[in-house]
């Protein structure tokens, strides 16, 4: 990372790259762990983070489990073997110990986030949105750069409401009992291959705790940025909503444009107690690789929410436009009586991207309901798979699921696949599954163009219409961004 290469790279990108606008690299002095993964490396990461003993023990247990596991290959995904020993598992911008206020954050980092349109100033809102809303909504942001959280905004205002929003490293230091109580309680350390890897080496992520009866006064969001080369990002997010609490949380992700692949294996755990509700939205825009399929992020993510109490509600909304490989199934355990799980998803794949994504709705308690709306859009040579499981356990009387699964094809070299698994062990369950596959037809494009729209505007209009049910679930500030992102992702995919 020589200083001059950054400028050259940017100049080159402005010429060669129209699709991915977040592919720049930040030249900043970094601290790395040596390449490879071993008990020694885990001890090093743990020491860097100042982990308590119980956490180190948990990591080592996860690592031992991981070593006995095999990488899963049941997804409809093809990629060369990942060399886990060639990666680095820790990278952090060098800094003086403990910069706590925004003024102390390295200006280069502030600049990076400014360039990405992410406000790390407390009066700001997301770039491009301010002009369109009369009274700009305030959004608290936690910014994670490679392995560490670099800044969290609006902490005081949230603290006044009783809400804890900080990096998970800080939570481990400041609220160890809370973290210990909930960490791994939804996604255990040995849950699956990638979750075990994450548990062993996770370095940062966000922590949210909303106490009993509190409605979080603003949107919370975390912005993940991979910058360093050959470094995996393994963040862990934990959100707890006590009885009657409500919170809406959004995560966004980008990475520099690189020829080699980058590994991202995150874990997200949500806990909703009685009458609590958590709304979790994702706009995933990791670098997808170039038009020939070179480079891009491998995104292997485990996200699970636990509706522990009666009438708890967990809602996942995701707009997935990035990554070379996406392997991700945000799920809900519906344990509390009358609890509600929702999954709204738009997954766009173009060029040589591959996405295998969906959800699991596990109905355990009586009168539980779940809704699944999945919209897959495939263009270029990409493959887009919806994989979803709906399971009704014996005591889940009157469980109800509705699944709507639609695929839209652009061009004739891409693929759309739908793989639903439905299992009911209670005769009172009502399970509905609808699936459609359609193509943007020439006559639709011509109809739009005859009315005066360009071909690209016509595609955007049709795609946005196709995704409308999902986009309306996003917090308003982000729906506009998501629409723009869809437009950018599909640029040049027709004709």
């Amino acid at each position: 990372m020589s200083p001059s290469s950054t400028q050259e790279r940017e100049a080159l990108q402005s010429v060669t790259q129209s699709g991915y606008k977040w592919g720049f690299e930040t030249d900043i002095e970094m601290e790395f762990a040596p390449q490879g993964l071993s008990e020694e490396i885990i001890r090093l990461i743990s020491a860097k983070k100042g982990d308590p003993d119980w956490l180190l023990a948990w990591r080592l247990e996860a690592f031992a489990a991981w070593r006995k596991m095999e990488e899963p290959h049941w997804g409809l995904l093809h990629y060369p073997p990942i060399d886990y020993q060639a990666l680095r598992y820790y990278a952090a911008p060098k800094r003086k110990p403990g910069p706590k206020s925004l003024d102390e954050v390295d200006p280069k980092l502030l600049e990076t986030y400014a360039k990405l349109g992410i406000p790390l100033k407390e009066q700001a809102v997301l770039a491009g949105v301010a002009a369109e809303t009369e009274a700009p909504a305030q959004i608290a942001v936690d910014a994670v750069f490679d392995s560490v959280s670099v800044a969290t905004t609006f902490r005081q205002r949230l603290a006044d409401a009783g809400v804890i929003f900080c990096s998970i490293s800080e939570a481990i230091r400041e609220h160890p009992d809370l973290v210990r109580r909930y960490l791994g309680s939804v996604v255990p350390a040995g849950d699956n291959y990638f979750a075990a890897l994450n548990a062993a080496v996770f370095t940062d992520g966000s922590f949210v705790f909303v106490p009993r009866g509190v409605r979080c006064p603003m949107e919370l969001s975390t912005y993940f940025r991979i910058n360093a080369r050959n470094t995996g990002q393994f963040e862990r997010t934990l959100i707890v909503a006590e009885p009657g609490a409500q919170v809406s949380y959004l995560e966004g992700c980008t990475a520099p444009q690189r020829d080699e692949n980058q590994l991202h294996a995150a874990v997200v755990e949500l806990i909703a107690e009685e009458d609590a509700s958590i709304k979790y939205s994702t706009v995933q825009n990791w670098y997808p690789g170039d038009a020939e399929g070179k480079g891009g992020v491998y995104n292997f993510v485990t996200k699970r929410g636990d509706c522990r109490g009666a009438r708890a509600k967990i809602s996942w909304t995701q707009v997935e436009t990035g990554s070379a490989i996406t392997w991700k199934y945000p799920s809900c355990l519906l344990r509390g009586e009358g609890s509600v799980g929702e999954f709204y998803s738009v997954a766009v794949t173009t060029n040589h991207q591959q996405a295998d994504t969906g959800t699991k709705m596990i109905h355990i308690g009586a009168n539980t309901t779940s809704t699944i709306v999945s919209k897959g859009i495939s263009a270029g040579f990409s493959n887009n798979t919806y994989r979803g499981q709906v399971k009704v356990m014996p005591r889940a009387h009157n469980a109800h699921n509705h699944t709507q699964c639609d695929s839209l094809l652009i061009g004739d070299k891409c693929g759309a696949h739908t793989v639903p698994y439905i299992e009911s062990r209670n005769a009172t369950a009502r399970l509905e599954h609808e699936a459609t596959t359609s193509k943007i037809a020439d006559d639709q494009l011509f109809y739009c163009r005859q009315r005066g729209l360009t071909e690209e505007d016509a595609v955007n209009l049709i795609v946005n219409g196709f995704c409308k049910e999902v986009l309306k679930e996003l917090p308003m500030e982000f729906a506009v961004e998501a629409q723009k992102l869809l437009a950018v992702s599909l640029e040049g995919s027709v004709g």
Partner: protein, 249 residues
Amino acid sequence: MLEIKGLTAGVEGKQILNGIDLVVPSGEVHAIMGPNGSGKSTLSYVLSGRDGYEVTGGSASFDGHDLLEMPPEARAAAGLFLAFQYPVELPGVNNANFLRAALNAQRRARGEEELDSVAFLKLARAATKKLSMANDLLRRNVNVGFSGGEKKRNEVLQMAILRPKLAILDETDSGLDIDALRIVSEGVNAQRGPDFSALVITHYQRLLDYIVPDKVHVLARGRIVRTGGPELARELEETGYASVLAEVA
């Protein structure tokens, strides 16, 4: 003014238009009649620029624009509107949003100021009312779940909002009951004026009782074989196309 000279065109190597000569001066409505397979729809697609229709010779200009050189959206911005024989469904796309996007795209292309949503809705509601159409037509998704008659009315509503200078109506009367036929015809007649011209393609004389044309052309085997006044349509209704075709052969 639409001016077509010696236009030859086809699909997949098969020539369908064998040299069309036609002039539609501004302010006039011309009807094109003809048997199935005579090239009526091909003419409307060639004029509006649909992919897959290959022009092999001749020219077509509109108000000084060389139509054949322009992409479909530029022809639309220049004032050309095609009312489709089979209007296309756009699932999830709200009719009002679609029309506003289309109108603003045209206005942008012409260097005019775009309409905000309030101004647009005012315009759209007025047009809907004038055509005695239900306001919910604007809220519904473009042509999705519309009856055949509703789809044709929606075409006329779009025409009323986009205000083209030249409208091509491709068998807009097919599948319409008598009430819908009246509403559609009134919609077209309301546009008539010195700056509006239309090419009304139809099989039947019936439509021309409502939209009285200045001229009637008979298209057969890819050529205009006869031209006359409104009485020509009535003559064809009585004698059929056989006599005309016999003359050509």
